[in-house]
Amino acid sequence: MGKLATGIGVDLTEDALDPLTALEHCSAPGHGAADLFIGRVRDINQGRQVRAVSYDLHAVLCRNVFIEICNQAREQWGETINLWLAHRYGRLEVGEASVIAAASSRHREESFRACRFLVEEMKHRAPIWKQEHYIDGDSEWVQGHALCGHG
Protein backbone atom coordinates (compact mmCIF):
# COMPACT_ATOMS: atom_id res chain seq x y z
CA MET A 1 0.00 0.00 0.00
CA GLY A 2 1.36 3.43 -0.88
CA LYS A 3 0.37 6.97 -0.25
CA LEU A 4 2.04 9.97 -1.78
CA ALA A 5 -0.05 13.05 -1.17
CA THR A 6 -2.59 12.80 1.61
CA GLY A 7 -5.81 11.74 -0.02
CA ILE A 8 -4.16 9.62 -2.70
CA GLY A 9 -3.92 5.89 -2.08
CA VAL A 10 -2.60 3.24 -4.46
CA ASP A 11 -2.20 -0.46 -3.91
CA LEU A 12 -0.84 -3.45 -5.82
CA THR A 13 -1.51 -6.69 -4.06
CA GLU A 14 -1.94 -10.43 -4.42
CA ASP A 15 -4.73 -10.34 -1.84
CA ALA A 16 -8.41 -9.87 -2.52
CA LEU A 17 -9.31 -6.22 -3.10
CA ASP A 18 -11.57 -4.64 -0.49
CA PRO A 19 -14.10 -2.04 -1.63
CA LEU A 20 -14.62 -0.87 1.96
CA THR A 21 -10.97 0.14 2.24
CA ALA A 22 -11.39 2.20 -0.92
CA LEU A 23 -14.60 3.82 0.33
CA GLU A 24 -13.09 4.55 3.71
CA HIS A 25 -10.15 6.23 2.02
CA CYS A 26 -12.51 8.16 -0.23
CA SER A 27 -14.47 9.96 2.44
CA ALA A 28 -14.20 13.24 4.30
CA PRO A 29 -16.61 15.45 6.26
CA GLY A 30 -16.70 17.86 3.32
CA HIS A 31 -17.23 15.17 0.68
CA GLY A 32 -20.86 14.61 -0.23
CA ALA A 33 -20.10 12.15 -3.00
CA ALA A 34 -18.01 9.08 -3.72
CA ASP A 35 -17.88 6.93 -6.82
CA LEU A 36 -16.30 3.49 -6.89
CA PHE A 37 -15.56 1.23 -9.83
CA ILE A 38 -14.86 -2.49 -9.64
CA GLY A 39 -13.50 -4.50 -12.55
CA ARG A 40 -14.09 -8.23 -12.21
CA VAL A 41 -13.03 -11.32 -14.13
CA ARG A 42 -15.72 -12.18 -16.69
CA ASP A 43 -16.72 -15.72 -17.60
CA ILE A 44 -16.59 -15.09 -21.33
CA ASN A 45 -14.22 -12.97 -23.38
CA GLN A 46 -14.44 -12.68 -27.13
CA GLY A 47 -16.55 -15.80 -27.30
CA ARG A 48 -14.24 -18.00 -25.24
CA GLN A 49 -15.24 -19.39 -21.86
CA VAL A 50 -12.84 -18.17 -19.21
CA ARG A 51 -12.04 -20.09 -16.03
CA ALA A 52 -9.51 -17.68 -14.53
CA VAL A 53 -7.14 -14.84 -15.37
CA SER A 54 -3.51 -14.40 -14.30
CA TYR A 55 -2.43 -10.79 -13.92
CA ASP A 56 1.20 -9.80 -14.33
CA LEU A 57 2.38 -6.31 -13.50
CA HIS A 58 5.53 -4.26 -13.13
CA ALA A 59 4.98 -3.32 -9.49
CA VAL A 60 7.38 -0.39 -9.10
CA LEU A 61 6.56 1.32 -12.38
CA CYS A 62 2.87 0.54 -11.96
CA ARG A 63 2.81 2.22 -8.58
CA ASN A 64 4.48 5.29 -10.08
CA VAL A 65 2.00 5.35 -12.96
CA PHE A 66 -0.95 5.02 -10.54
CA ILE A 67 0.33 7.97 -8.49
CA GLU A 68 0.89 10.01 -11.65
CA ILE A 69 -2.65 9.27 -12.83
CA CYS A 70 -4.06 10.31 -9.44
CA ASN A 71 -2.04 13.51 -9.46
CA GLN A 72 -3.35 14.34 -12.92
CA ALA A 73 -6.92 13.74 -11.75
CA ARG A 74 -6.34 16.21 -8.92
CA GLU A 75 -4.99 18.78 -11.34
CA GLN A 76 -8.21 18.48 -13.31
CA TRP A 77 -10.82 18.15 -10.56
CA GLY A 78 -9.23 19.82 -7.58
CA GLU A 79 -6.59 19.12 -4.95
CA THR A 80 -9.22 18.34 -2.33
CA ILE A 81 -10.58 15.21 -3.98
CA ASN A 82 -9.59 11.85 -2.52
CA LEU A 83 -8.54 9.07 -4.87
CA TRP A 84 -7.94 5.35 -4.62
CA LEU A 85 -6.52 3.04 -7.26
CA ALA A 86 -5.71 -0.59 -6.55
CA HIS A 87 -4.97 -3.55 -8.79
CA ARG A 88 -4.56 -7.17 -7.92
CA TYR A 89 -2.05 -9.56 -9.48
CA GLY A 90 -1.66 -13.32 -9.58
CA ARG A 91 -4.39 -15.77 -10.50
CA LEU A 92 -8.03 -14.64 -10.16
CA GLU A 93 -11.13 -16.75 -10.62
CA VAL A 94 -14.26 -15.59 -12.46
CA GLY A 95 -16.08 -12.93 -10.42
CA GLU A 96 -13.04 -11.82 -8.42
CA ALA A 97 -12.12 -8.13 -8.48
CA SER A 98 -9.03 -7.22 -10.47
CA VAL A 99 -9.20 -3.46 -10.02
CA ILE A 100 -10.88 -0.93 -7.76
CA ALA A 101 -10.87 2.80 -8.50
CA ALA A 102 -12.62 5.34 -6.32
CA ALA A 103 -12.94 9.09 -5.91
CA SER A 104 -14.67 11.31 -3.41
CA SER A 105 -15.36 15.01 -3.63
CA ARG A 106 -17.60 17.81 -2.45
CA HIS A 107 -20.10 17.32 -5.28
CA ARG A 108 -20.83 14.27 -7.40
CA GLU A 109 -19.70 15.56 -10.79
CA GLU A 110 -16.01 15.46 -9.80
CA SER A 111 -16.31 12.01 -8.22
CA PHE A 112 -17.87 10.46 -11.29
CA ARG A 113 -15.41 12.09 -13.67
CA ALA A 114 -12.29 11.44 -11.63
CA CYS A 115 -13.19 7.80 -11.01
CA ARG A 116 -13.80 7.24 -14.70
CA PHE A 117 -10.51 8.97 -15.49
CA LEU A 118 -8.59 6.66 -13.15
CA VAL A 119 -10.07 3.59 -14.84
CA GLU A 120 -9.47 4.74 -18.41
CA GLU A 121 -5.91 5.93 -17.75
CA MET A 122 -5.07 2.77 -15.83
CA LYS A 123 -6.22 0.66 -18.76
CA HIS A 124 -4.14 2.63 -21.25
CA ARG A 125 -1.01 3.40 -19.27
CA ALA A 126 -0.45 1.01 -16.38
CA PRO A 127 2.09 -1.79 -16.95
CA ILE A 128 -0.35 -4.63 -16.36
CA TRP A 129 -0.93 -7.73 -18.47
CA LYS A 130 -3.35 -10.57 -18.33
CA GLN A 131 -3.31 -14.16 -19.40
CA GLU A 132 -6.69 -15.81 -19.75
CA HIS A 133 -7.16 -19.45 -18.81
CA TYR A 134 -10.00 -21.07 -20.73
CA ILE A 135 -12.15 -23.96 -19.64
CA ASP A 136 -10.76 -26.01 -22.54
CA GLY A 137 -7.38 -25.91 -20.79
CA ASP A 138 -5.79 -23.40 -23.16
CA SER A 139 -4.23 -20.14 -21.96
CA GLU A 140 -3.52 -16.95 -23.84
CA TRP A 141 -2.02 -13.52 -23.17
CA VAL A 142 -4.59 -10.86 -24.02
CA GLN A 143 -3.63 -8.23 -26.58
CA GLY A 144 -3.56 -4.71 -25.24
CA HIS A 145 -2.67 -1.05 -25.77
CA ALA A 146 0.88 -0.24 -26.88
CA LEU A 147 2.65 2.07 -24.43
CA CYS A 148 4.20 5.32 -25.59
CA GLY A 149 7.25 7.07 -24.23
CA HIS A 150 6.89 10.06 -21.91
CA GLY A 151 5.72 13.33 -23.50
Partner: protein
Protein backbone atom coordinates in the same frame (compact mmCIF):
# COMPACT_ATOMS: atom_id res chain seq x y z
CA UNK B 1 38.80 8.28 -41.74
CA UNK B 2 40.78 7.65 -38.59
CA UNK B 3 38.14 9.61 -36.73
CA UNK B 4 35.39 7.41 -38.15
CA UNK B 5 37.20 4.23 -37.17
CA UNK B 6 37.50 5.61 -33.65
CA UNK B 7 33.77 6.27 -33.56
CA UNK B 8 32.99 2.81 -34.79
CA UNK B 9 35.26 1.33 -32.16
CA UNK B 10 33.45 3.37 -29.49
CA UNK B 11 30.12 1.98 -30.76
CA UNK B 12 31.21 -1.62 -30.49
CA UNK B 13 29.61 -3.85 -27.89
CA UNK B 14 31.02 -2.84 -24.55
CA UNK B 15 28.49 -4.07 -22.02
CA UNK B 16 25.35 -6.09 -21.48
CA UNK B 17 22.30 -4.82 -19.66
CA UNK B 18 19.67 -6.97 -17.96
CA UNK B 19 16.16 -6.44 -19.32
CA UNK B 20 13.15 -7.73 -17.38
CA UNK B 21 10.41 -9.46 -19.33
CA UNK B 22 6.70 -9.01 -18.66
CA UNK B 23 3.40 -10.30 -19.93
CA UNK B 24 3.46 -12.23 -23.17
CA UNK B 25 7.28 -12.20 -23.22
CA UNK B 26 7.03 -14.74 -20.43
CA UNK B 27 5.73 -17.37 -22.86
CA UNK B 28 8.94 -17.89 -24.85
CA UNK B 29 10.77 -19.90 -22.23
CA UNK B 30 13.27 -17.22 -21.20
CA UNK B 31 14.33 -16.55 -17.64
CA UNK B 32 12.61 -13.42 -16.17
CA UNK B 33 15.62 -11.30 -17.11
CA UNK B 34 17.48 -11.39 -20.44
CA UNK B 35 20.97 -9.88 -20.85
CA UNK B 36 21.13 -7.70 -23.92
CA UNK B 37 24.54 -6.72 -25.40
CA UNK B 38 24.78 -3.00 -26.03
CA UNK B 39 27.23 -0.61 -27.69
CA UNK B 40 28.55 2.29 -25.64
CA UNK B 41 26.34 5.40 -25.57
CA UNK B 42 23.46 3.23 -26.68
CA UNK B 43 20.00 4.54 -27.27
CA UNK B 44 16.78 2.67 -26.62
CA UNK B 45 16.63 1.78 -30.30
CA UNK B 46 19.87 -0.17 -29.81
CA UNK B 47 18.28 -1.99 -26.90
CA UNK B 48 15.41 -2.92 -29.17
CA UNK B 49 17.84 -4.20 -31.83
CA UNK B 50 19.77 -6.15 -29.24
CA UNK B 51 16.64 -7.85 -27.95
CA UNK B 52 15.54 -8.51 -31.54
CA UNK B 53 18.76 -10.43 -32.05
CA UNK B 54 17.96 -12.45 -28.96
CA UNK B 55 14.62 -13.37 -30.53
CA UNK B 56 16.02 -13.94 -34.05
CA UNK B 57 13.86 -16.51 -35.83
CA UNK B 58 10.97 -16.20 -33.36
CA UNK B 59 8.37 -14.32 -35.40
CA UNK B 60 5.84 -14.12 -32.57
CA UNK B 61 8.38 -12.59 -30.22
CA UNK B 62 9.66 -10.18 -32.86
CA UNK B 63 6.13 -9.06 -33.66
CA UNK B 64 5.43 -8.57 -29.97
CA UNK B 65 8.69 -6.67 -29.57
CA UNK B 66 7.72 -4.22 -32.32
CA UNK B 67 4.55 -3.34 -30.34
CA UNK B 68 6.41 -3.11 -27.01
CA UNK B 69 8.01 -0.27 -25.10
CA UNK B 70 11.10 -0.09 -22.91
CA UNK B 71 10.95 1.45 -19.48
CA UNK B 72 12.81 2.17 -16.29
CA UNK B 73 11.03 1.77 -12.94
CA UNK B 74 10.08 5.43 -13.24
CA UNK B 75 8.97 5.96 -16.80
CA UNK B 76 8.41 4.59 -20.28
CA UNK B 77 11.24 5.46 -22.68
CA UNK B 78 11.32 6.73 -26.24
CA UNK B 79 13.45 4.88 -28.79
CA UNK B 80 15.57 8.03 -29.16
CA UNK B 81 16.35 8.23 -25.41
CA UNK B 82 19.83 7.17 -24.25
CA UNK B 83 19.75 3.90 -22.34
CA UNK B 84 19.88 5.13 -18.75
CA UNK B 85 22.84 3.97 -16.67
CA UNK B 86 22.33 2.11 -13.44
CA UNK B 87 18.59 1.79 -13.80
CA UNK B 88 16.41 -1.31 -14.00
CA UNK B 89 15.22 -1.82 -17.55
CA UNK B 90 12.13 -3.65 -18.71
CA UNK B 91 10.41 -4.46 -21.95
CA UNK B 92 6.66 -3.89 -21.76
CA UNK B 93 4.21 -5.49 -24.18
CA UNK B 94 0.94 -3.69 -24.93
CA UNK B 95 -0.93 -3.37 -21.63
CA UNK B 96 -4.40 -4.51 -20.64
CA UNK B 97 -5.03 -3.87 -16.96
CA UNK B 98 -8.45 -4.02 -15.37
Amino acid sequence: MTMKTETTRHSAITRTVPVRLFGAFRQFGDPPVVDVPLPDRARVTDLRSGLAEHYAGNDNALSLLRASAFATDETVLDDSDPVPQGRNLSVLPPVCGG
